[in-house]
């Protein structure tokens, strides 16, 4: 299945709506995640306070991002990490391929990292002749299926157990079964060989602590620990916005992230990695390379409204709360980042040329803002992006409509006339059809309230 693009969002959404399996899976997943998040948040009486503090910390970091990054880099390097700065996706891939090639790597194991999806790293590594193995179960499934993730937290949420079983039977020779434990065991056994053979392990980073140069990575499966402990080289790809100032700040973020993402108090494992081992004989990689990725993030710093996009801790709560995402799932967005956060960062990272539909694919209900652990005002962002898109990409007809509309609203006479015209026109316009395909349309009243008041 080829991945869909943001340009064809409307068609993607329609296809998704017609997919009965997908809609069932989405309904189940988003309601379970949503319910768990709610319970987990309710379990902390100071939840609102935590959100406020987290947002304050992020605001502070982003406002002085250069300083905090410098501090992070200095501290990480003083413990033996090597830090690389990647301006964009191509630079990141080039750096990483270069490191792996220097290592003469043949097998690369990867744990789930949205930033590496963003840069299409796997394609670059494969083009350089390496075997890349995704080790997160959900990512492994979609890698085998040659698909892209449909959810930030649960990448294979759109697949039924039957579909996954068939995939494992075809690709891994697993005896047919619909037992989920059996499928998981199959994945575990197959992937163990790769872990043992891997020359390089690549991970993402959830938080980078400026004060200590520590990278923090959270997970449930254990594949991140394996990826970052066994191979001799560990490459950690980190968006520049992932910095937090102090080690103690982790208390707040480690409370917010698991509860918001999966409803857990803590995920099974947190790895706090600071540089490399002190002695050769110690366990762990010999080399740690941290690749800092910009790829359009620094541009978002230029306005307080857009800057808040960078506060995102990639929990996925907004996806589960969004009535649009609940209906169409992640693939329809045609982007690595779907859902509400995707609708605002995709146009900013990729430019609005091909992504201009995304900020409009929202009813502005605000459910996302309510669940965001760092209080990103996504509706405000959507409206901000719409105000940049409309004048440039709104289309001649639409721009004209609003100019005429404004004229009509400025003058009571024209306003009155417009309703007269409206009564005639409402039966035939395409806009009217877009409504009436599913809903009855209230006819314009023969007497407006203005008329009634005069009587």
């Amino acid at each position: 299945m080829t991945s869909q693009t943001s340009e064809t969002f409307r068609e993607n959404a329609k296809a998704a709506l017609a997919d009965v399996h997908l809609r069932g899976a989405l309904k189940h997943a988003t309601s379970v995640f949503g319910e768990r998040r709610k319970q987990a948040a309710a379990g902390l009486p100071n939840w609102e306070d935590l959100r406020t503090q987290a947002r304050a910390i992020k605001d502070e970091v982003l406002l002085h991002l250069d300083r905090y990054l410098e501090e992070f880099v200095t501290n990480a390097e003083s413990c033996g990490a090597k830090v690389h700065w990647a301006r964009d996706a191509a630079a990141a891939n080039s750096i990483i391929c270069g490191l792996a090639t220097e290592r003469q790597a043949r097998v690369v194991v990867k744990s789930k990292s949205m930033t590496t999806e963003e840069t299409h790293l796997n394609d670059a590594l494969e083009a350089a002749g390496m075997q890349v193995v995704e080790t997160d179960l959900g990512e492994y499934i979609i890698q085998l299926a040659e698909e892209t993730p449909s959810h930030i937290i649960a990448p294979a949420i759109h697949k039924t157990r039957g579909q996954i079983a068939e995939l494992f039977t075809n690709e891994l020779g697993m005896p047919p079964t619909d037992d989920i434990a059996q499928m998981t065991r199959t994945a575990r056994l197959t992937l163990r060989d790769h872990f043992a053979a891997a020359d390089v392990g690549i991970s993402g980073v959830n938080f980078g602590v400026a004060e200590t140069g520590t990278i923090v990575i959270v997970e449930n499966e254990g594949n991140i620990r394996l990826t970052t402990s066994l191979p001799r080289m560990h490459i950690a790809v980190m968006g520049i916005e992932k910095v937090v100032p102090r080690f103690a700040d982790l208390d707040i973020f480690l409370k917010l992230l698991p509860r918001s993402g999966t409803g857990q108090r803590l995920t099974t494992y947190q790895s706090f990695i600071t540089g490399v081992k002190k002695q050769q004989s110690d366990e762990g990689p010999e080399e740690l390379h941290i690749v800092l990725l910009d790829n359009g993030r620094s541009r978002m710093l230029a306005h307080p409204v857009t800057r808040q996009s960078l506060a995102c801790i990639r929990c996925g709560a907004c996806l589960n709360a969004c009535p649009v995402y609940q209906q169409i799932g992640g693939h329809a967005y045609g982007s690595v980042y779907p859902g509400p956060i995707g609708a605002v960062i995709t146009p900013q990272l990729m430019g609005i040329e091909k992504t201009s539909q995304l900020p409009y694919a929202s009813s502005l209900c605000g459910a996302c803002r309510e669940v965001c652990p760092v209080k990103i005002d996504i509706p405000q962002l959507l409206l901000h992006l719409r105000s940049e898109i409309a004048p440039r990409k709104g289309g001649v007809a639409e721009r004209l409509v609003f100019k005429v509309w404004a004229r009509a609203m400025m003058s009571p006479t024209l306003y009155k006339l417009s309703s007269v015209a409206g009564r005639i026109v409402q039966r035939v316009t395409p806009i009217s059809r877009a409504w009436t395909n599913g809903r009855d349309l209230r006819p314009i009243e023969s007497k407006s309230f203005h008329d009634l008041w005069n009587e």
Partner: protein
């Protein structure tokens, strides 16, 4: 108390009984209602679609008209339109003169149920309506204006009305302004969740504080041949 009615263009053109009922309710609790005939629209459609220049033009006109009013409050039967007025300070953030005027008008503008409960402290307007009904929380009213308990209090005091809480009452109905016609299939898919919940509630009417939601919900109910009536809070409160 003297109030100035901000009736909204949607109610004015497509659902006048909401406006008429609002006036009856306000007069019934002792308010003097004035209606400035110059009013047209709050500019929400332009603002939401991204046409801020046009929104500012229309917004400035709204502010100019309503700041002249001697009334103590501007009251509207729409959460989303009231929320739009509350957004005027954002729209005029870079214009100190208009910003001040926007703040002044926004401070005086209230949604109907919020006005009754929070300002007038009236919980019972003497309405009566027989039947089983439920409430849909319109998104802007709920999340921008924190309107949640107020309509429920007012409804519970309607003589003869049996109120049931709707499952996921706070879930969006899928309208979202131009979203409803730019992405109609998604809009209707979201809407159908709401419709299913309404059908499961076994009510005669679904009530809300926004004509836009009611058009969306009512339009689908009637298309499906449902007997459930989509009713505005003002219409319910004006019932005798």
């Amino acid at each position: 108390m003297k109030v100035s009615l901000f009736v909204t263009c949607l109610v004015d053109q497509l659902w006048t009984s909401i406006g008429v009922s609002s006036v009856e309710v306000l007069r019934g609790v002792g308010c003097e209602v004035e209606f400035d005939k110059r009013q047209t629209c709050c500019a929400q459609p332009a603002f939401n679609t991204g046409y801020r220049e046009e929104a500012r033009q229309v917004g400035r006109r709204f502010i100019s008209i309503f700041e002249e009013s001697k009334a103590e409050a501007i009251v509207s039967p729409s959460g989303s339109c009231t929320a739009m007025v509350h957004h005027y300070p954002e729209l005029f953030a870079d214009d100190p003169a208009w910003l001040e005027r926007a703040n002044a008008v926004a401070a005086k503008t209230h949604e109907l149920s919020s006005f009754l409960i929070r300002v007038l402290k009236v919980e019972n307007v003497g309405a009566s309506w027989n039947g089983r009904l439920t409430w849909h929380d319109a998104c802007h009213g709920l999340r921008d204006l924190n309107i949640k308990s107020e309509p429920r209090t007012l409804i519970r005091n309607v003589r003869g009305a049996e109120f049931v809480e709707l499952e996921h009452a706070d879930a969006c109905c899928g309208f979202g302004g131009t979203f409803s016609v730019k992405y109609p299939e998604i809009s209707v898919a979201i809407l159908d969740q709401k419709i299913e919940a309404i059908e499961r509630a076994g009510v005669q009417a679904v009530v809300s504080g926004d004509a836009s939601c009611l058009m969306q919900i009512g339009g689908r109910l009637s298309r499906k041949g449902s007997k459930v009536r989509a009713m505005h809070l003002a219409e319910l409160l004006a019932s005798r």
